[in-house]
Subunit: 458 residues, 2 copies
C-alpha cells in the first residue's frame, strides 16, 4: 500500500484568540489536510498598538478594529466561532466552550489569548484606574476623559474643577507614555477652542513612574529624549514614585497625594487568566512556559504563542511580549504544524526552535514626536515618528486599504478631525443621567459609572 | 437722548437641543447684542438621516456625528452646556437645569428638542422592538443584528436558527423602508461570505405596514416602485397588517404570528416629553402648537422649531416634521429675534409668518436604489439615489470635509467596507456573557440584554 492510498482524515487545529498571534496563524497556515476553528469572545480583531488613540479620541473604533469574519472570509478552511472558552482538557485533546454542548476535539491547539492588565495584587484599583486592553476599555476611558471636561465646564466649584482637569497616568512604559502624550494633545491642542468657562490648556497631566526613568526598555539617551518631548507637551513626570494606593479620584504616593478626575493605568500586564485552565504551573506573570518550539512541555500538540507565552528562544534570549514576537511565533508554529500534517509524520521531537528576530522598538509620544531604536540606530522626534507611522501602516493587516488609512491619517493630522470625540452610550448602556444636581454628587455619579463598568472586569 | 446713547444690555437666547433646528439657529444667528446658551444632554450633533446606516453597520458613528463644541468652536457668543432640562418656567423667563443650582434666565427661548419614538400607547413594546432616534439606539440595534448572526452560527437547533435569521421591521414609512433595505443588503451582500454553518442569504426580512401601501407620503407610482425595489432586495412586504401586539421576539398580526430574532420599530414618533414642562396644551402627538411665526400663543418670546412644533405656515399648509422644515424654521426665528434685538424694538406682534419651502422628498432603499419626488418631478432607482447622495452631501453641515466624506462613501460603495461591523460594548457595558450554554437560554440572554437596555428608555 503506497502512501497515496492511505485514507486521509483532516486534522483539526483549534486556535484560541484572534489577536496578532491567532490571526497570523490562521492567515499563514495553508494545508488542505487540516481545518481550523478559531474561537474568540469578540467579533473583531483589534490593532492594539493604536488603541491609546481611541482612548484619547484621536481615532475612532472602526479605524483600528475589523470583524474577524471579514478578515478571514476567503479562507474556506477557517471557521470562526464567537464563543468563550470555559475549559481546556489537554489529556483528552478537547476544549470546552460556553455555547457548545459538546466539547470541541482538536489534534493541535494554538493558544493566543494574550494578556490583561496587572494591578500587582490590588484588583480593587481597577475600578479607579482603568487599563487599556480592549476596545471597551478604550471607549470607557474616552467617555471619562471627555465627560471630565464637560463637567468641569458646568461646575462652579474651583476645587472640583481643578480635580476634574487633572489626569494621572500610572506607568512610564510605552502605554503610559503614549496615553500621557495623547491626553496632553487632546487638552492643549484639540479641545483648546471648545470651551467658554474653562481653559483646557490648564489641564494638568501627571505621568507617574516607579523606576528612575521612563521607557526603561530603551537606551537611556532615548528615555531622556522622550522625557524632553513629553515635558514640551506639558506633561509632568514623577520618577521613583511607586504607587502606594489608589482610591476614587486619588493616587497616593510616598509623600504626595494626587487628586485626579481621571486616573489611567499603564503599569503592567499578566497572562490571560484562562491559562490557568491548562492545569500546569505558570510563571509569576501568569504566562504559560513553553519550549523553544512554542509547545508545552507536557503536551507537544499544544502551543502557546504571543503575550500569553513565556520562553527563551533558540538562541537562549527571552522573547519580549510585543506584537512582532507574537506574529513571528505564530508563523513558526504554523510551519511546524503544516510540516507534520503534510508529511503525515507523527508529532516529532526534533522540531525547529523559534528564533526571535528583533527588528527594533519604538514608542510614540505625540503628533510628530516619537523615539525608535533599531539595533544601533536611534531615531528621535519627527524622523522616529515617520518611522513609527510607516511601520504601523505596513502592519495594519487587512485594515481597509492602507493608502486609504494613510489618507485618513493625513487628514486628521492637518485638521485635528473631531468625529471620534463623540460621547456615546450615555443614555442607555450606562443608565445614569449625565449629571447630578450639585458638583459633589456629580463626581459621585462619575465614580459610580466607573464602578458599574468595571464590576464585570478581570 | 439719541438711540446710540442708550445703554445696551446683551440679550440672552437659550436654545434647547442641538439637532438640525437648534444647531442651525446657533450657526445662523449673528448679533453682537446677544449671547446664546445652547443646552443638550449629548455632546454631539447627529446627522439623523443616515442613522439607519449605523444601525445596519453600513457607516460608523463618527461619520454621522460630530461634537457640538467643535461645530461651534469659532462662535464666541455661543456657550455650549452638556446638561439636562428639568423644567421651563415661561412666566419668569427661566429654564431649570439639572447640573446648575441657579435657574438660567432668558430673554428668548428656542425649543428644538425633537421627537421620540411613539409606541401608540404601548410603551412595553419598546423593550422588544427598539426604535431609531439616537446614536445609542443605532448602536444597540447593530449589536442585536450582528449578535443574531453570530448566535445562529453556533446554535444547532434549526428552529432557533430560523428565528434568529428573521428580521421584522414595523412601519412602512421612510425609516422602516430604509431599515428593511439596509438589513437586506447586510444579510445578502455584505455578510454573504462570512459564515460557514449558516447562509446569511436565507435571512428573512419582513416589512410590516398597517396601511395599504408603503411610503404613503409619496405618489402611489413611487410607492409601487419602492415596493418593487425592496422585493428585488428580498424583502417580504406585508400590507394592511396593523400590529396587534409585540412581545419577546414575537410580532402578533391579525391572523399571523411572526417569530423574529430582531424586531425594529419605525412606525411613528411623537414630540419630546419635555414639551409637557411648558404647561400648555399639546397636540395628540405631544407636539407644541405654535403660531405662524413659530412662537407660542401665550409667550411670544418662546419659540418651538423642528419636530417638536406643530403649525400651519403662512400659506395655511401644515409643516411636515422633516429636517429641511426644521432648518427653515430655525432660520426664520433667527431672523425675527435678530431684527428685534438689533432694532432694539419691543417684541412685536407683526412678525413675519414662516412659509415652508418644500424642495421635495426622497427615500433611499438600498445601494443605488431610491425614490425622489420634487414637485412634479419623480425619480426612481439610480438617478433618485444619486440625487439622494447629492442632497445628503450638501447638507452634511460641518462634517469633516464634504469631499472627504464622498470619498469615504465611494470607498465603502465599491468595497463594502467592514469596519463598522465591529461589536463593541459587550464585555463591560452590557455586563452579560455573549452566550449561554444552550440555545434556548442564549436567546433568553439576548432578550435580557434587550430588556436591560430599554429599561431606562422613554
Amino acid at each position: 500500500m503506497s502512501l497515496l492510498d492511505k485514507p486521509i482524515r483532516k486534522k483539526r487545529i483549534v486556535v484560541l484568540g484572534a489577536g496578532f498571534a491567532g490571526l497570523t496563524f490562521c492567515r499563514r497556515f495553508r494545508s488542505e489536510f487540516a481545518e481550523i476553528i478559531l474561537i474568540d469572545r469578540q467579533n473583531h480583531h483589534l490593532f492594539q498598538p493604536l488603541l491609546y488613540q481611541v482612548a484619547t479620541a484621536g481615532l475612532s473604533m472602526p479605524e483600528i478594529s475589523r470583524p474577524i469574519r471579514s478578515i478571514l472570509s476567503r479562507r474556506k478552511n477557517v471557521t470562526v466561532l464567537m464563543d468563550e472558552v470555559t475549559g481546556i482538557d489537554a489529556e483528552n485533546k478537547q476544549v470546552i466552550l460556553k455555547a457548545q454542548k459538546e466539547p470541541l476535539a482538536f489534534d493541535y491547539l494554538v493558544i493566543g489569548l494574550g494578556a490583561q492588565n496587572d494591578y500587582f495584587g490590588h484588583p480593587e484599583w481597577e475600578a479607579h484606574a482603568p487599563g487599556l486592553k480592549s476596545l471597551d476599555d478604550a471607549i470607557r476611558i474616552r467617555q471619562n476623559l471627555l465627560l471630565a471636561f464637560e463637567q468641569a465646564e458646568i461646575t462652579e466649584d474651583p476645587e472640583t474643577q481643578r480635580r476634574l482637569l487633572t489626569i494621572a497616568v500610572i506607568g512610564g512604559g510605552p502605554t503610559g507614555v503614549e496615553l500621557a502624550g495623547a491626553c496632553a494633545e487632546l487638552a492643549r491642542v484639540i479641545l483648546r477652542r471648545d470651551f467658554r468657562r474653562i481653559d483646557p490648556e490648564k489641564t494638568k497631566i501627571i505621568l507617574i513612574e516607579a523606576g528612575d526613568r521612563i521607557l526603561s526598555a530603551f537606551d537611556p539617551e532615548l528615555s531622556a529624549e522622550a522625557e524632553k518631548q513629553l515635558r514640551r507637551l506639558g506633561v509632568n513626570i514623577l520618577k521613583n514614585e511607586p504607587v502606594q494606593s489608589i482610591s476614587k479620584e486619588q493616587v497616593v504616593l510616598k509623600d504626595l497625594t494626587i487628586q485626579a478626575g481621571t486616573i489611567l493605568w499603564g503599569a503592567g500586564v499578566r497572562g490571560n487568566p484562562l491559562a490557568a485552565k491548562l492545569g500546569i504551573e505558570l510563571d509569576s506573570k501568569g504566562r504559560i512556559p513553553v519550549r523553544a518550539d512554542c509547545s508545552l512541555n507536557q503536551h507537544r500538540n499544544i502551543f502557546a504563542v504571543g503575550d500569553i507565552a513565556t520562553l527563551k528562544d533558540g538562541l537562549g534570549q527571552p522573547v519580549p511580549t510585543v506584537s512582532p514576537a507574537a506574529m513571528q511565533m505564530a508563523n513558526h508554529v504554523a510551519r511546524i504544524i503544516r510540516d507534520e500534517i503534510e508529511c503525515r509524520t507523527q508529532i516529532t521531537h526534533n522540531r525547529p526552535s523559534f528564533v526571535y528576530n528583533n527588528k527594533g522598538s519604538m514608542a510614540t509620544i505625540g503628533r510628530a514626536a516619537a523615539i525608535a531604536q533599531m539595533g544601533r540606530l536611534k531615531l528621535k522626534g519627527y524622523s522616529a515618528w515617520l518611522a513609527w507611522l510607516f511601520v504601523h501602516l505596513i502592519f495594519l493587516i487587512g485594515f481597509r486599504n492602507k493608502a486609504f488609512v494613510l489618507l485618513q491619517w493625513a487628514w486628521s493630522y492637518f485638521t485635528y478631525g473631531s468625529g471620534s470625540r463623540v460621547i456615546s452610550g450615555m443614555d442607555r448602556t450606562f443608565r445614569i443621567k449625565p449629571f447630578a444636581v450639585n458638583p459633589a454628587s456629580r463626581v459621585d455619579e462619575l465614580a459610580q459609572m466607573e464602578n458599574q463598568n468595571t464590576g464585570s472586569g478581570i
